[in-house]
């Protein structure tokens, strides 16, 4: 029987997707952005150590703090997503498990970013 597959269909999934450089560069850019954001995060959490609910809410309500925390969560989760992808690629060899792990990683990453950012916005805009 004649092979009706196109040449593209035959090689799909067998080689480089040619987006490795973008992954590498995005990992570095988010790493650089993480440096000041982590310093902000550490200084803030040390400075507010032991505070109660009302004081933490008042802290997070400040516009600059809300924006910096959203940037920190978004950048950090993106960086985490890229890093854990490399771990899966290196250590998970079974194709099916690898595929499932990648999907799960993406879903969890988006979920924790959404939950965190929604919580920050809820406090920022809340009464």
């Amino acid at each position: 029987m004649a092979d009706m597959k196109t040449p593209l269909a035959k090689v799909r999934g067998l080689g480089s997707a040619k987006d490795g450089t973008h992954h590498w560069l995005s990992h570095r850019v988010t790493a650089i952005a993480n440096i000041p954001l982590v310093v902000f995060f550490i200084v803030s959490f040390v400075g507010n150590a032991g505070k109660g609910h009302a004081e933490w809410v008042a802290w997070l309500k400040q516009p600059i703090v809300s924006v910096l925390m959203i940037l920190f969560v978004a950048n950090m989760v993106y960086h985490m997503r890229l890093g854990l992808q490399v771990l899966i690629e290196d250590y998970v060899h079974d194709h099916g498990t690898k595929f499932a792990s990648m999907i799960a990683l993406t879903f969890v990453s988006v979920l924790i970013a959404a939950l965190s950012i929604f919580s920050i916005l809820r406090i920022a805009f809340g009464g």
């Binding site: 570095r28 790493a31 650089i32 993480n34 440096i35 982590v38 550490i42 959490f45 040390v46 400075g47 507010n48 150590a49 032991g50 109660g52 609910h53 009302a54 933490w56 809410v57 997070l60 969560v73 950090m76 989760v77 985490m80 890093g83 854990l84 771990l87 924790i112 939950l115 965190s116 929604f118 919580s119 920050i120 809820r122 406090i123 809340g126």
Partner: protein, 131 residues
């Protein structure tokens, strides 16, 4: 018998363990630990947005000795990942490839992370008025 005398292909166990290898695997290990930290931060933010009662519950978990141990570990992971990450960026720029400088920089990441972790916790306890 003859096969035993053949040179081994390079593999993990034939190398003498060095700081540069430790810092490399620690970068991955701490990165994975920080993923747990990201989930905990999300839980904490959700608790903060939920209300003071649930927030107090979560703060209560964080205040137990096991909670503090986990947070201490995540602080160390963050500092170590930060230091080895900066070292990675310098190596991406072509620096630190001299063997002695490379090994020294690897050791320095551990010195930094240990000192920074202690400093952060000391400062936090100072702010809380415990120390």
């Amino acid at each position: 018998m003859a096969q035993a005398d053949r040179p081994l292909s390079p593999h993990l166990q034939v190398y003498r363990w060095g700081a540069h290898m430790a810092v490399s695997i620690m970068h991955r290990a701490t990165g994975s630990a920080l993923a747990v930290g990201a989930v905990l931060l999300t839980w904490w933010l959700v608790a903060l947005a939920t209300g003071h009662e649930y927030f107090a519950t979560v703060q209560g978990y964080a205040g137990t000795w096991i909670g503090r141990l986990v947070l201490f570990g995540i602080t160390f992971a963050l500092m170590q990942h930060l230091a080895s990450g900066v070292r990675h960026l310098l190596m991406d720029m072509g620096r630190l490839y001299d063997l002695k400088v490379n090994a020294l920089s690897a050791r320095m990441t551990f010195i930094f992370s240990i000192l920074a972790t202690i400093a952060v916790w000391y400062a936090a306890y100072k702010v809380m008025g415990v120390l």
